[in-house]
Amino acid sequence: MADLVISNLQSRVPALVVQQLAVLNLCLHGAEITGLNGPSGSGKSLLLRAIADLDLSTGDVSLAGCSRASMAGHEWRKRVAYLPTESAWWFDTVGEHFLQTDIASLQQLGFEADVLSWKVTRISSGEKQRLALARCLSRLPDALLLDEPTASLDESHTRDVEQTVSDYMGKRKVPVFWVSHDLGQLKRLSDQAMEIQLDGTLSALHL
């Protein structure tokens, strides 16, 4: 099992809301979901982005004993996938964003096979969010950093997403970091949970 070990990680992005951004020391275990909760502007997304090495940060993160400093940025992010709340689509059709056409999770997320020919300008925000998860998982990452992955979904699709992530995690024994506003969801899913405050302090969250 591959653990994601985060030591003394702090984002170096100039803070807007908070006085000080959190310093994170945490071990995300393989095949476990770690939940993260906290008010808007407390820097949850910044933490995930720092782990994925998308922003400047101090500290170190390693996956299965391999420090991110030992590999190129894109190799790290290929393994440690950050799924933003707002996904980006840059080609004309959905399918062009996938590296292969046989995507197991699409059906589980409630799509037919013809979804790959859809025009990206016509997909709704909820569809975008589910498709972004399918796109992320299709690249077979070794760790998942999910930033409110069900923010624009209804109850039934939320359950689809939760099940899809659980299945992927169970199959590949990857660690999952799940940011959510919904305490009920975190209670349902997470094996451990953290809470981040506006002053940048982190504490264990008991659900």
Binding site: A52, L54, A72, G73, H74, R79, A81, P84, S87, W90
Partner: protein
């Protein structure tokens, strides 16, 4: 054919047309009036000054004077590239990126033209070297400005897309590839347009000048073709250099998008 000399009144009539446009812009609140007037004044002052300087440089025909003038032209072009961009690189990069790209392209193409193609004697003969360099700098300046402006503006507007592609594990080069291709295309549009319509729609400026001063048309045409190709080569080289280096600068050693390097 004798050259018809222009009087001050002739120029004043042309200037009044520009003033008319400025007045229209001002009355219709279209903005930009000031920029037009300042550019007009700069044209008069700079060209008069150039006339005087060229008189001296042509008379001296000294390599050092010509080199000095070339450097002044380059620095002025570099400054122009910098200030015409909405979002430029901060620090010395803002100036050096455009300037060094122009140096690499415009200077090398001019040198090649002087040493191998035109071969005046001496090779730096200012009647040839200064106008050649001027035309190349002026055109590469355009290409580089348009290209870099497109690059930095697109990177800013499409940062979610670039960031999203990085998050999916793409290399920085892949994540910016569309914008890079587009920026080089945009930088090359003016010269491609100019070459496409040359002779059909527009009579290029240099050829017009030569014909007006009595050169046989076919000679003027040959020079114009040479100039067009040199400009296309210079603009292409300069734009590609500037865009490729600019793309590099938008990312750091961890392949993170660094928009904080833009202002």
């Amino acid at each position: 054919m004798n050259l018809i000399s222009l009087s001050v009144i002739d120029l004043a009539i042309a200037a009044s047309l520009v003033l008319l446009v400025a007045l229209l812009q001002w009355r219709m609140r279209l903005g930009n009036t000031q920029a037009l007037l300042i550019a007009g004044l700069r044209t008069v002052a700079q060209l008069l000054l150039l006339g005087l300087v060229l008189k001296i440089v042509f008379a001296a025909s000294d390599l050092y004077w010509i080199a000095l003038m070339s450097i002044v032209m380059l620095l002025a072009a570099g400054r122009e590239v910098m200030v015409r961009q909405k979002r430029r690189f901060i620090g010395s990069w803002g100036f050096l990126l455009g300037t060094s790209s122009m140096f690499i392209s415009a200077f090398s193409v001019t040198l090649l033209a002087l040493l191998i193609i035109v071969q005046p004697d001496p090779w730096y003969l200012p009647q040839y070297s200064i106008p050649l360099l001027g035309m190349l700098l002026g055109n590469t300046l355009n290409g580089i400005t348009l290209g870099l402006d497109n690059l930095t503006r697109s990177a800013w507007e499409k940062r979610t897309i670039i960031d999203g592609r990085l998050a999916l594990g793409e290399t920085w080069s892949n994540a910016i590839s569309d914008i890079r291709r587009d920026s080089i295309r945009v930088g090359m549009i003016p010269i491609i347009n100019a070459m496409s319509v040359a002779g059909l729609v527009s009579l290029p400026g240099m050829m017009t000048g030569q014909i007006l001063s009595g050169t046989p048309p076919v000679e003027a045409v040959k020079y114009q073709i040479l100039i067009m190709f040199l400009i296309a080569a210079g603009t292409g080289l300069g734009t590609i250099t500037a865009i490729v280096i600019g793309c590099h600068r938008l990312f750091d050693d961890r392949e993170r998008l660094r928009l904080d390097r833009l202002r």
